[in-house]
């Protein structure tokens, strides 16, 4: 029996406003418990919510970035349920009429690419945190997070594999960071995905029963959880069972999903429009202003890099992983016109490797684009070879100085003097008669070995092209 997998993702992106969606308390991560919860966040008797316009602005930005409809009038609704980290006993969310409707996200897949439709995106407030360890059988409640603005982004069930789901999640993650609405810090909980997974016989159009997997805070866990769930559902059905609609949690230690214990899955939230908040009205002028301030989006930037700099898709996809990386690349490329490929290679190669090793983000890179360009210029003009440049880069990374200063100080200038190189080549030929003989006997590799010896003798500083040419000449072949 061939099976088709159907996946939809619900993503909660914490909007990077300075204060909460309905109160003025700070949203900064990591403060001591309950130090960033105002009277409104604690739901003291008599308090009322006031909408943070910055949160709305970010929702509009998102809607424009995915080509969605911005509803000119949307309504806040109360989602009622009891839990200690939900101070009011209800969450202010949006139900029937969300701020953003529709839209789509283009993702890259094994088959090339596809468009994943979005159902909607709406504004809501985050709950606090429940901490179950360290409290001797009790639970600690930290309300710092209560009231943080969230944009809940719901996709249509358009994905057909865990790979597509991960591609969607990564693309969405990059987009929300690109347009500056969310910092995307998954460890801190700024970007959380829930996956809705169902299976059906290939060719069937009716949807199978889905399960929702919550609490996936890394792309790896997202992939693993979906894979496990697919297998679980298929096995269950093949053994004659039926999939029960339920909410499941992923356990990354045991690599399995488990039904959540005490939650009723068909809970009635008794949604009704929140009488404390008037309908959210967004006029055309506001939308126009946000549109005019929207940066060129990742896909458009990628296409521009391809046409403007002649770079291949493999490079442009990587260079547009974040707005900061794209900007860094362009600033570097500006310093080496007609050698943008060189810039791309270095940004994606040496720079990225160094960042990864230092577990650093591009925003904290210690080598500025201007200085990197300075280094690349010295490769271009033949002052140093590519190999030497790597050593210079390492020194720049450690803060020693700019390229020229390092080249000067360490005497790394490439040797381009034909006479000097000629002498070295002569010495190498004289010192290695056996290898010369092998070459003359037809062994190509021997030539490379001789080149290597010449480079070694000059501590790598000889111009490799010249070494090659002179050696060839002197060997007469």
């Amino acid at each position: 029996m061939k099976w088709e997998v159907v996946i939809g993702l619900e993503t909660h992106a914490q909007l990077s406003t300075a204060s909460k969606i309905f109160s003025g308390a700070s949203t900064a991560f990591g403060a001591p418990p309950n130090t960033q919860a105002s009277a409104v966040d604690i739901a003291l008797p008599g308090v009322l919510p006031v909408l943070n316009r910055d949160a709305v602005e970010r929702a509009i930005r998102f809607g424009l970035a995915v080509g969605a409809t911005i509803n000119r009038r949307s309504v806040f609704a109360r989602k009622n349920y009891f839990y200690p980290d939900l101070p009011k006993g209800y969450q202010i969310s949006q139900f029937e009429i969300p701020v953003v409707q529709g839209g789509a996200l283009a993702i890259a897949t094994a088959e090339g690419g596809k468009s994943v439709r979005l159902t909607r995106a709406h504004l809501e407030e985050d709950a606090g945190k429940s901490l179950h360890e360290d409290y001797h059988g009790m639970t600690g409640i930290d309300l710092n997070r209560a009231g943080t603005p969230l944009l809940e982004i719901v996709s249509e069930p358009d994905m057909r594999s865990s790979a597509e789901a991960v591609a969607y999640a990564k693309t969405l993650h990059a987009l929300v960071r690109w347009i500056g609405i969310c910092d995307g810090n998954m460890q801190e909980g700024s970007f959380r995905c829930d996956a809705n997974v169902s299976v059906r016989p290939a060719g069937e159009t009716k949807l199978g029963t889905r399960c929702e997997i919550k609490n996936l805070n890394s792309f790896r866990f997202l992939e693993q959880a979906i894979e496990f769930e697919i297998r679980r559902q298929i096995e269950l059905i093949e053994e004659g069972g039926t999939v029960v609609q339920q909410t499941r949690l992923y356990d990354p230690d045991r690599l399995e999903t488990r039904a959540m214990r005490s939650k009723e899955d068909a809970q009635d939230y008794r949604y009704f429009p929140d009488p404390d908040l008037p309908p959210l009205v967004i006029d055309d002028a506001w939308i126009e202003r946000v549109k005019s301030e929207l940066p060129l989006l990742p896909e458009a930037t990628r296409v521009r890099f391809e046409s403007q700099y002649g770079l291949p898709p493999h490079d442009t996809v990587a260079l547009t992983a974040s707005r900061e990386l794209a900007a860094y690349f362009e600033a570097t490329a500006a310093g080496v016109p007609h050698a943008e490929k060189l810039a791309a290679n270095w940004v994606l190669g040496e720079v990225s490797a160094a960042l990864n090793k230092a577990e650093m983000d591009i925003t904290r890179v210690p080598v500025s684009a201007a200085r990197l360009a300075g280094l690349l210029q010295r490769i271009q003009d033949g002052t140093i070879s590519g190999k030497i440049a790597k050593a210079v880069f390492d020194a720049m990374w450690s803060g020693v100085g700019n390229a020229d200063a390092i080249i000067e100080a360490k005497g790394l200038k490439q040797i381009s003097d034909a006479a000097a190189i000629g002498r070295v080549v002569d010495e190498v030929i004289a010192a290695n008669p056996a290898i010369v003989a092998e070459f003359r006997a037809g062994k190509e590799k021997a030539f490379n070995s001789l080149v290597g010896k010449a480079m070694q003798a000059t501590k790598g500083k000889a111009n490799p092209a010249q070494v090659n040419a002179l050696l060839k000449e002197k060997l007469g072949g």
Binding site: A39, I42, A43, L44, P45, G46, V47, L48, P49, V50, L51, R78, N80, F82, P84, P87, K88, G89, Y90, T139, I141, D268, R270, Y271, F272, P275, D276, L277, P278
Partner: protein, 493 residues
Amino acid sequence: MSAITAPIAELAEALRAKRLSSVELTQGLLDRIARLDPVLNAFITVDRERALSDASAADAAIAAGTAGPLAGIPLAHKDILVTAGMRTTCGSRMLANYTSPYDAHVVRGLKRAGTVLVGKTNLDEFAMGSSSETSHFGPVKNPWDLRCVPGGSSGGSAAAVAARLVPGGTGTDTGGSIRQPAALSGICGLKPTYGICSRYGLVAFASSLDQAGPLAQTAQDLALLLNAMAGHDSRDSTSLDRPTEDYTRTLGEERGAKPLAGLRIGLPREYFGDGTDPDTAKAIDEALAEFRQLGGKTVELALPRVKLSVPVYYVIAPAEASSNLSRFDGVRYGHRAAKYGDLTDMYRKSRAEGFGAEVKRRILVGTYVLSHGYYDAYYLKAQQVRRLIADDFRRAYQSCDVIAGPTAPTTAFRIGAKTDDPVEMYLNDIFTVAANLTGAPALSIPCGFDRSGLPIGLQLQGDYFAEARMLDIAHRFQQATDWHRRIPAMAAP
């Protein structure tokens, strides 16, 4: 002695002229409270030290010439408006020891106007009731007849003003809870247009219906208090941002013998049927005759859907209340059960112990009408009918300027008389709830007594933002009559 039981306008004048000090006035009223409140149970909290301290400060401001119009006037706040540093119980075991870190917006406004905070008044628990019998702190008695209720839910403030324990107080009105106790206690009360007074600090019962408002001896006093209570508050998203109004601005105008000339008073036929007690009907008729004497004309009109007000109200109010009261869960403040097993047990016990029967009843009804499968038939339908009722009123104001009628169908009933039948209790609100559903302003003023000597109230309703005009009409009536000057025997100075 009678000086201290005078209305606010007279007291303010006496204080400014230094014929009386705020300390003397406050001390005198505190003595009256000590003497009379044990019988009335109008107060939950009285803070002598704070009151006298406020009074001293007011006297100093008056002496320095920096005093506001209400400087030195003692007041009480309904115990559902939060006061920083003084507990707010909402008449409930749930909040018996709760002290708010902040003042409600209307409390702050009255504080800034220089009033003296005497204490917090008793009420139906969480403002749910029409008799002030459901308080955890015991029922309030009507000063006109101690066997009777003063009305509710702002019965404590109404009784306190009626017995001249304070010259004015605040209340809240969700379905009539300022106007009905004002009527049953023989004083004046106003519910302003929804959005005029900020709800920040008003412990929410039904968010789309609640409004804070003043209770006092005269319409002029209501206007003075409203001036200090009204105004935009950015912390309340339903607060209206309008230019400041002086609600007393026309009260001093000399208009001769026919001050109400040109006024069209609408009389809905739905308000003059059989459901009203005959003494009440008679007193209202006599009041209307007085209005005509003053130059007003009455016109009959119809409000065909107004009879749906009570069922609509008793779907919407409990629905909103069931959600608003969810925060009382024993987690962060308020009552938490002493012993419990798990989380669900804690919730169940804390709320079962913390809430009284009427509150529980309304939470259950509210939860039901919002639940899946019933939302459309109940909550949604009620909101739609609400709009139809509002349409009836807007149409009515095309042919009249104000609408008049009884505030309540009966005078004060005996304590315990209606507690067995909640629906019978709910019918007390029949004339008052429409103004909450539509958000329009409404007030009640005394207009007579029944054969047992119990007060009767006349309700005036107006279109949105008509408060100043309504207060003017009531003021002219009070210049020609003296119902508002009557004092219950037990409170005679």
